[in-house]
């Protein structure tokens, strides 16, 4: 990694740096197997921009490989998961996050299925009981069935 920095200094080449975008690293410097593990974990949260629904961790495309290298470099410098996600989000927007954030219109994506499930359970429950008053379906109340009430009146039989 050091030779790249030396080369950049010698040639005067400057690439956009994370520090300008997300500030100083806020985590510990990571190396060894932990670095590989965290790289895969964070790259798995990023969408490969040139693929169809694949993560940066899974895609073999050169773009994804470059992004994964950058994730690795940022972790090694001590950037946290949140900082790294924010760094990529600044360039690609929320498109790059495989898991949408709980904000704005995205809130509906999280809430609607839970709400639909709740309404479904409530609907099934209310169908199993009559009008929710605890009476079984096969025993309709007299108030709701005038024909049955008339039959009971004629036969003199009460429910």
């Amino acid at each position: 990694m050091t030779w790249i920095f030396v080369l950049l200094l010698v040639t005067g080449v400057k690439v956009p740096d994370a520090e300008q975008i997300v500030g100083q690293p806020q985590g510990p410097v990571v190396s060894g197997p932990m670095l590989d593990q965290q790289t895969n974990e964070i790259a798995g949260l990023l969408r490969c921009p040139v693929c169809q629904g694949m993560s940066v961790a899974d895609s073999p495309s050169e773009m994804a490989v470059n992004m994964k290298h950058q994730v690795r470099e940022l972790i090694a410098r001590g950037y946290t998961r949140e900082q790294i996600l924010r760094y990529f989000e600044r360039s690609y927007g929320q498109f790059v996050l495989l898991k949408p954030k709980f904000q704005g219109v995205n809130t509906l994506v999280w809430i609607l299925p839970i709400l639909a499930l709740g309404v479904g359970i409530f609907a099934i429950f209310s169908m199993m009981t009559k009008g929710g008053d605890g009476q079984p379906v096969d025993q309709p109340s007299v108030d709701e069935d005038p024909y049955l009430a008339e039959v009971r009146k004629l036969t003199g039989k009460q429910s």
């Binding site: 040639t11 005067g12 080449v13 400057k14 690439v15 956009p16 300008q20 975008i21 921009p49 040139v50 169809q52 050169e62 773009m63 470059n66 992004m67 290298h69 950058q70 990529f88 989000e89 600044r90 360039s91 690609y92 927007g93 498109f95 790059v96 219109v105 509906l108 994506v109 609607l112 709400l115 639909a116 309404v119 409530f122 609907a123 209310s126 169908m127 009008g131 929710g132």
Partner: protein
């Protein structure tokens, strides 16, 4: 009670249909650039041929067209003459820059020798500049105003009308 369930069901269905239909007309590969209205990420890269390091900051005060491309990209062949002719036509008023990534310098040089060039072409070795600009595929063209702010992004091979329209934006915003 059943009426409440029915209304709630209809409301949820309508909301779900609205959310899903909002995404139906969109190209899944289209990335809305969050950089528009923001300061463009700074870079200084080596130019193909001369190996001179060219700093983006050097062009502050002039509208800038930054075109990301590669020799393996077929649509880039299509837009190259459009960019070259407009760069020649607008020389002095607008600065054009080409940024090539995921490519080899000899191939880029061959391409430029064969098809001509009118502005510096820079090499983005590890693709870091492309990533900082949120490039999802080539070609992509960014338009910066004289203060270095991104005013527009164009995906795909640019046509003369779109190029002129976006240059006007860069000159006026």
């Amino acid at each position: 009670m059943n009426r409440v369930v029915l209304i709630a069901g209809i409301l949820i269905t309508v909301a779900l249909v609205l959310v899903l239909s909002a995404g139906l007309g969109k190209d899944p590969q289209h990335i809305e650039s969050p950089l528009i209205g923001k300061q463009a990420p700074d870079f200084a890269l080596q130019a193909v041929g001369t190996h001179e390091t060219i700093d983006l900051a050097k062009f502050r005060g002039k509208p800038l067209v930054v075109n990301f491309w590669a020799t393996w990209c077929r649509p880039c062949y299509e837009e190259h003459p459009v960019l070259v002719s407009n760069a020649q036509m607008m020389q002095g008023q607008v600065q054009f820059l080409g940024v090539v990534f995921q490519d080899k310098e000899e191939k880029i040089q061959g391409f430029l020798n064969e098809r001509g060039s009118a502005y510096p072409t820079l090499v983005d070795d590890a693709g870091k500049t492309a990533i900082a600009y949120g490039v999802g595929g080539v070609p992509e063209t960014f338009f910066l105003n004289k203060d270095g702010k991104v005013v527009a992004k164009f995906e795909g091979p640019i046509d003369p009308d779109s190029l002129q329209q976006n240059i006007r934006k860069a000159m006026t915003q």
